[in-house]
Symmetry: D2
Subunit: 387 residues, 4 copies
């Protein structure tokens, strides 16, 4: 039960808005368009699950006019029972970022990107958020388009300037991604690149692992264990995928992998006697399922798989690993993975005044039909075309 | 030289419009927005390269009001020295296609999709186009979302109805794609599925190979050779990729693979004494390079690599293959691939009244700066956001 | 419980012998070297699990002198409580197969391969085995090495001759594999190629799906559903993998995928009111774990995951799929996957006089230490070097 | 021409021996079995190509009795006109390494592995070789088999001890590999892990890039550029692949990728005014082609692609990159890649008294038929079986 008390997962404000693929967006009548709506939806998820107390925000979409809106946004959050979490700058959407942001050969664009990030840190300071979450779409699409080394060094410079602007307990999390939207070379393509850059700019910089940002067959839990051992793991963006960065519901494709990631964390915690300081965040694109329901499903899945990971018999596992009892060691994991944890979860919910079945509670609440009525008109207008 | 006379590659009208990734579009001042503009741009590419005499059109974007526009579009094409090529229905963008088109569990949606395709065949009849080019975004994003077999059979029914509506020399080309925008299971995911469906509906149905629609490391040229041998290869959508369906410039990432695809076709032609009846089409997303220039680059690359493939010493290769002289057989291919064919290409251009350096000729023509001036305002308004 | 009575999985005789990677074999003292030993080990697995009543044999290794040994082998099997299952010819190990077997440009080698397969059919006839299981290592390592179409047609010829030699209820199962040991193009590389060849030679030929023989991210359960719908699924070679054809324990890497494969079969069975006629076989390389224990673990995993798949609420799932209730449909699968089936399994075992915990029973039996003593010396001599 | 004078590529002694896949070895009559034979073959390759002056050796196979053989081996090398290059310990083949070497939970095995490596350093000292080339097969095959972090730290300890034993200008090169023979988690799986370990043990440790040891679609040249920028690139093991670590002839599958790797090196050299200090080595498995001929083909390919990379117009490229002239920048690379460099190569050969066509010269020399006669009998005995 203490494991469940300690496990919280942050929701992304943009996960309640209409998103899609390059071929179009399928618009949901109840999708949120304002930050207030996003926070209300997030609050609803937290109300029924009890494990999503904070919301990551996106500067461009949630603070289009900058830090001035902080008080309003904080109040909206508080009213919905949640707090503002990680701050996400956006240096990929504006037309000036066509050839990159901090990695752009044009110093003017690099300055513009840095300036936006520094503004984001000011928002971070005012919201009291601990983490600045940095994803860069920078990269090149064709061999020869850019100098790999020059772009690397522009990134080091830019990130150093970002680091210098942090204070208090603020951290910066540096995300990596092998491809999309850059298809030949992404400037921060893998955990090694994120590690080197983070290490070089200072101790507040840590690596952010998005579970969808890996090569096929890459062992994510091994990377997690290495980063834990190096004290360089800052947090996660959770989602699932089959091929590319599909941004599907966590655990929908490979739940055993999610369990194994959590296992590495729980195993580390058991060994060190203390949990590592990691931000757990959701980052998914809810294109087909209802957004709020998918978020509830995600939170419940994360909680359940984390609990299962905590149930691994660590002393037995350690002993079997020492003796290379391969089958027995493996069965330690499989037994925990397939353990029936529903009773524990239900009891925990009861003890916290939460509904035993959060999804059913949400469906019965009438929230969805209410917001669908309120928001339908605005959503109808947001259709976009591929070409 | 005769090889060059026989090789033509079709341009896609949508390749001149602003496209992008799900994270946004980088807008080009000179991008085409009307069909007339697209045809003008395509005409310009053909004017300087001499190998792009036709333009594939997209019903939703080029014929938003259906067959009524055919005469205008044909006239526009003719004025620009090109013809109308393959007709591409669109059954993925409308909101009703959220859960699929011909594979949708809802019979109303299946009917709507079929109706749109039948309308497209009417356009095809009036444009005199030979090929109906069918790509379906249908699929499911999560395990359990749909019945694989039910969806397969709905597709068979729908495609049979499409086939029944064809006449004269019309063909239908059935494209496959392993993922995106469906991330768990695409209804027509690979060449085997496209083959089975095509085979089951009738002799006018052939497989369309998009070079970007394969699993990593899959041997595309082997599939091409199998389809040739089965008389089931209808045509190509050409582009290049590194990871997923990146829609990069043909030959920009792996030119040797493009060469080997062409080699299988030329080798087949040499053996049979006759070229197979295949539609060569470009399908790329020109997000960063100038659209018209990238199209010229693509046409020239296709032409050059096809010429190199035609230069393989086929009798020697056949003999080495028979004797399993592995190194000698391989060198037949590598020698042709690295052969300097510029002189032949320049001579061919001269003999056809084409500029020796098509890209330079286009740049000197002033066409781009003219259309950038004309089209800039409209393009400025087309920015879209991810969330 | 009836589901469990109907589910049986065949063990491979070669799974009890020392195998390894190209870098070497790690020798187990208790590994089987003779066919009698392999059958004894298989019998032991069946004795404790009750779901492995037959053993696939490998002609080259189990019948080095051909059909003459059939009576002895059958008697050995019977003595150990198992039957002889699928017959596996070997046309890849002999030096003559360097450039292929049925796809070899040399007609002499093609004849030799065919002759070996026909001999295998004679063994099949005498053992009373239903299935001839065909895997071909044929392919090429370099572009240009061979003619794709010529090799395809040699395969069609050869397989047609094989088909013509079958009689009674005999079937031939044609396996596909994308790579290894051929690294440029495998002659039967994917399910589409296997389908086309099987279809072309006659109704006794079916496709064999080895779960490790797919491209990364390929949706195996979708292929299974298509083959079921086409009545072309002959059987499985089960194992798990992370990267290539790793031949790991079934369900050790992605148990949810195995569950989904079984789900497609159970869903088909529910719809048709009858189970499809499929051979379930194990094909793994037990390099590190103890071979017999890994086989027990595999059999138990297969049985458990099949039972879970049978527990899916099919009517509810069908209804949710019809209405595209994505989350509810998905939860049908996840609920069954995570259901605690141990009580059912234990009860089934009791009702069949089997040990409640088969692995524990095997470990307590002393079988392993006995055979390790008996076989240690012979195994010590079998070390091989990479170079 | 100076570029060619400076480019040398090291041959591996094991590349002349019979190797294969786990399914067997196809034995070549002329394959080398003794170190003397391997050096003779390597000498022959250098005699006709002029760019392979050194030979990497493998301690287990070339120095089965340790440092005592150094004088003989050096003399053999000298007699054949080559020098001894990198020293490769082997800590994967012995039975004790079943669960790893430096990453083994058993301290006795870790000691044994370290001891073998220290012996190798003594050999390195006596041969005067600069580089100790370290590849570890260590890893685990199943989730739970081992502690990722414990194994990482055992590696750090072991490598630190290795580093401490180096002296003079000796270096240690740490290779990474994502999978095979470990299929769940390789202890040093990617360049990031190799970088971290190397960095942590000292300045003599550098990363070794084997071109076949990457995830599919991973951008190798980007990694090379990062390592160059970090001064952490020690050398290469060259080969080509389509799927896994296929160990095919360099440039046989994707020559443009090899060119781009060389391009990053030449671009770095141009910028810094000095070539980086990198060991170029071949590491291939010559299973089907004649070993010596494939080595000649490899050396010539490497030389030719390096020359092409040196021909890139660096000032123009830098200018286009600065201005993000994407097409012009890309064409700088493509123009150099497709440039006809045969005349330059022939001239260089003439000026160094080398045959204009090295492969033809080798074939005419009669060397192959002579060694085939001499070695045939011994090779006939080396056949191994998969199971």
């Amino acid at each position: 039960m203490r494991v469940l008390d300690a496990f919280a997962i942050e929701l992304p404000s943009w996960g309640f808005a209409n998103t899609g693929t390059r071929f179009g967006k399928f618009i949901q009548a109840g999708a949120a368009t304002t930050t207030a709506e996003k926070l209300a939806d997030a609050g609803e998820v937290h109300r029924v699950t009890g494990c999503c107390p904070s919301v990551a925000v996106h500067v461009l979409w949630d603070f289009p006019n900058g830090a001035a809106a902080v008080d309003t946004v904080k109040a909206d959050a508080a009213r919905n029972g949640v707090a503002i979490g990680a701050i996400n700058p956006n240096v990929f959407q504006d037309q000036c970022y066509k050839h990159g942001s901090l990695g752009n050969p044009d110093p003017e664009v690099r300055r513009a990107a840095l300036s936006h990030i520094l503004d984001s840190i000011e928002i971070q300071r005012r919201t009291g958020s601990r983490d600045l979450s940095l994803w860069f779409a920078d990269g090149t699409n064709f061999p020869g388009s850019g100098s790999v080394r020059a772009r690397k060094n522009w990134f080091r410079e830019g990130l150093a300037a970002v680091h210098a602007a942090l204070s208090g307990d603020q951290r910066m999390l540096v995300e990596y991604k092998p491809f999309e939207p850059a298809f030949y070379a992404t400037d921060i393509a893998d955990w090694g690149m994120s590690y080197i850059l983070s290490k070089s700019v200072g101790s507040r910089a840590k690596v952010l692992v998005d579970t969808g940002h890996h090569y096929q067959a890459q062992n994510i839990e091994q990377i997690v264990a290495w980063l834990l051992d190096e004290d360089m793991l800052g947090g996660f963006h959770f989602n699932d995928r089959r091929y590319a960065d599909d941004d599907l519901t966590l655990g929908s494709i490979d739940p055993y992998q999610v369990f194994r990631i959590f296992h590495e964390i729980c195993y580390f915690t058991w060994e060190k006697g203390q949990a590592p300081d990691i931000a757990y965040m959701v980052d998914q694109s809810h294109n087909l399922k209802n957004k709020i329901e998918e978020m509830i499903q995600t939170a419940l899945t994360a909680q359940e798989l984390f609990l299962k990971a905590a149930l691994v018999d660590h002393p037995a596992l350690a002993e079997h690993q020492k003796k290379t009892n391969l089958i027995d060691a493996e069965e330690c994991l499989k037994r925990a993975f397939f353990a029936d944890v529903q009773p524990v979860l239900v009891e925990w919910r009861k003890s916290h005044g939460l509904p035993a079945d959060p999804m059913a509670a949400f469906r019965e609440s009438g929230y969805l039909s209410r917001v669908e009525k309120e928001r339908a008109e605005r959503n109808r207008q947001s259709v976009a075309s591929y070409a």
